[in-house]
Amino acid sequence: MTQAKQPIIQIRNVSKRFGKVTAVDNISLDILAGEFFVLLGPSGCGKTTLLRMIAGFEMPTEGQIFIDGQDMSLVPPNKRPVNMVFQSYAVFPHMNVTDNVGYGLRIAGVSKGEIRDRVAEALELVKLGGFEDRMPDQMSGGQRQRVALARSLVMRPKVLLLDEPLSALDAKLRAQMQFELADLQDKVGITFVTVTHDQDEALSMASRVAVINKGEVAQLAPPADLYEYPANRFVADFVGSVNIFEGKLTLDEPDKAAVDCPGLGKIYLNHGVTGPHGADVWVALRPEKIYLHVPGEGKAVRAAAQDAPDGHNLARGTIKGMSYLGDITLYEIQLEGGQMIRVSRPNLSRHDQEDFTWDDKVSMHWRADSPVVLLS
């Protein structure tokens, strides 16, 4: 994906209040031309309000939105160079597919011949060739969504806005559409801005993700950074599954650090965290980054010594719960201190030799670069 690093949308100190409720709280961010930008957050976090302000269906209480350098403050939705795919798809029920997709072009006064060509092209793009005369009530949810997509793409907007585009589809179709949307975006080169509450969706499609919490941007980063280097507890917890332990920063040098966690013992890191000494911090540890061992064989100790030369990231516990998910198995382990920790383990072979089960005593270790120290 080649990207022109020009901001196509500039959001400047935008707030939106509905009465006493602040839906969007002083957000500023740039969306670059050609990128697949995702606004991710729990329901009610203000992400949809932000999208609707870009489309022009809500007016910011404060701040400005620029699209392609133009201030949109006084531009109504029908005059903005953006198009939106609505959560309900909002396909016009009394028009067939051709009329639905050609609607915007008809309004714009495009000639009939050109409308025909562009509608055919758009339908081809979303793989709906042959559906021209279908009425919306004769189509499945997935097909209706493609109509909505084609109807927006046919306008050749500078930015395509998508409001929870996959939430109404079943799991299989959703996974397929994730790939198709990313592929489509690559093909047409239009900037996509998507709103979703589903972290899988965000991680799989986005070039950059803005995690929104309570109307503010909690973190803006590419998907991998979001997952591996969360900026705070909210992001660490919202994106993916995580174990979070409270502790005190006892050592912080450029190439190493240590956190004393009452629940987990001392945690060693092979990099500095640049936090105030003795500060209250949180350590985030992803379940898949913890290795499980049968205790008493010294394997855990040897592995830990190898992975963390400065100290032993080791823990012991008892398996209290497990759920087999096919590709991985998830374990709930009670640490010796009483706290629970989640560990996931890929099922690499059909018959795992080291099958763990309920009430087994286990040892755990993790690499020194796995934990993330969070200051907020």
Binding site: P76, N78, N83, M84, A90
Partner: protein
């Protein structure tokens, strides 16, 4: 007859009590009307006992100039009242659905008042109102019908508004936003998206308004002058002298008229569309 399959527990339509109940209901609803129609062919001035078949009272009714004039008046009033009620009613419904404004509840309540207020009160109110404002009564046709038409609009448009309002409740606002998003102006979005959605309600509302206006007696009685007799008022004055089969014939014509109009409207719209409204 003898090889019938037994009636399953949920086959209500085959049960005797259900069938007789439906039959009784139908009888209750339609027996008077059917009797009225039958006796319009009765060859008897008194019209109490059946004396034989004749069409002469239809002929008589159709040659009764004042009766025909009354019918034309009625149809004119109904048509005008329907058109105006549709516009006012639909706009009122859209406004109430679309906007939030102070005293909205009050506006909504007062708007449906003409449905609730007893007709006799409305009739008297209109009588006094038109007298007070000195509404001209000597205008040429059809302007002389203006007082009755205005009165009819008053009680017809709330029905249109009600039906349209109900239909609007099922409208997905995102469709309108989608239209605007694709470049449509406020008016284009209304014409292309909202109007098609409420069309069945408009047909149903028009039907309601038309029939309500056509057969209104009480309010019309109070607002009509000597030259502006409507069909129901005329029939009433005929009945006061005697119930001849001519009255039956005239009534039968009116019934047929309404049935045919309803049928056409349903055909135009598709019965499904109207059923969806409710």
């Amino acid at each position: 007859m003898f090889n019938r399959t037994p009636i399953a527990p949920l086959e209500y339509t085959r049960k005797l009590w259900m069938r007789s109940w439906v039959g009784l209901t139908m009888l209750f609803l339609y027996a008077p009307l059917i009797l009225l129609m039958i006796f319009s062919f009765n060859d008897s001035k008194r019209n109490v006992v059946w004396k034989g078949f004749t069409l002469k009272y239809y002929e008589k009714a159709l040659h009764n100039d004042s009766l025909v004039e009354a019918l034309v008046n009625s149809l004119t009033i109904a048509a005008l009242a329907t058109i105006v009620s549709l516009v006012i009613g639909a706009l009122a419904a859209v406004a109430l659905w679309r906007f939030r404004f102070p005293f909205k509840g009050l506006v909504e309540g007062t708007m449906s008042l003409p449905i609730i207020v007893p007709e006799i009160c409305l009739g008297v109110a209109f009588l006094i109102f038109f007298a007070k404002v000195d509404w001209p009564t000597d205008l040429p046709w059809p302007l002389n019908l203006s007082a009755i038409t205005i009165a009819h609009i008053t009680f017809c448009f709330p029905f249109v508004a009600m039906v349209v309002r109900a239909r609007l409740a099922s409208f997905n606002k995102e469709e309108e936003e989608a239209a605007k998003d694709l470049g449509a102006s406020e008016w284009q979005a209304f014409r292309d998206v909202l109007l098609p959605h409420i069309r069945p309600a408009l047909v149903a509302g028009a039907l309601l308004a038309f029939t309500l206006s056509l057969d209104d007696f009480v309010i019309t009685f109070f607002t009509s002058g000597p030259d502006t007799i409507t069909f129901p008022v005329k029939v009433y004055s005929m009945v006061r002298f005697s119930v001849t089969p001519e009255v039956n014939a005239a009534s039968t014509i009116l019934i047929l008229l309404t049935v045919i109009l309803t049928f056409i409207a349903l055909k135009l719209q598709g019965v499904k569309g109207i059923a969806e409204t409710h």
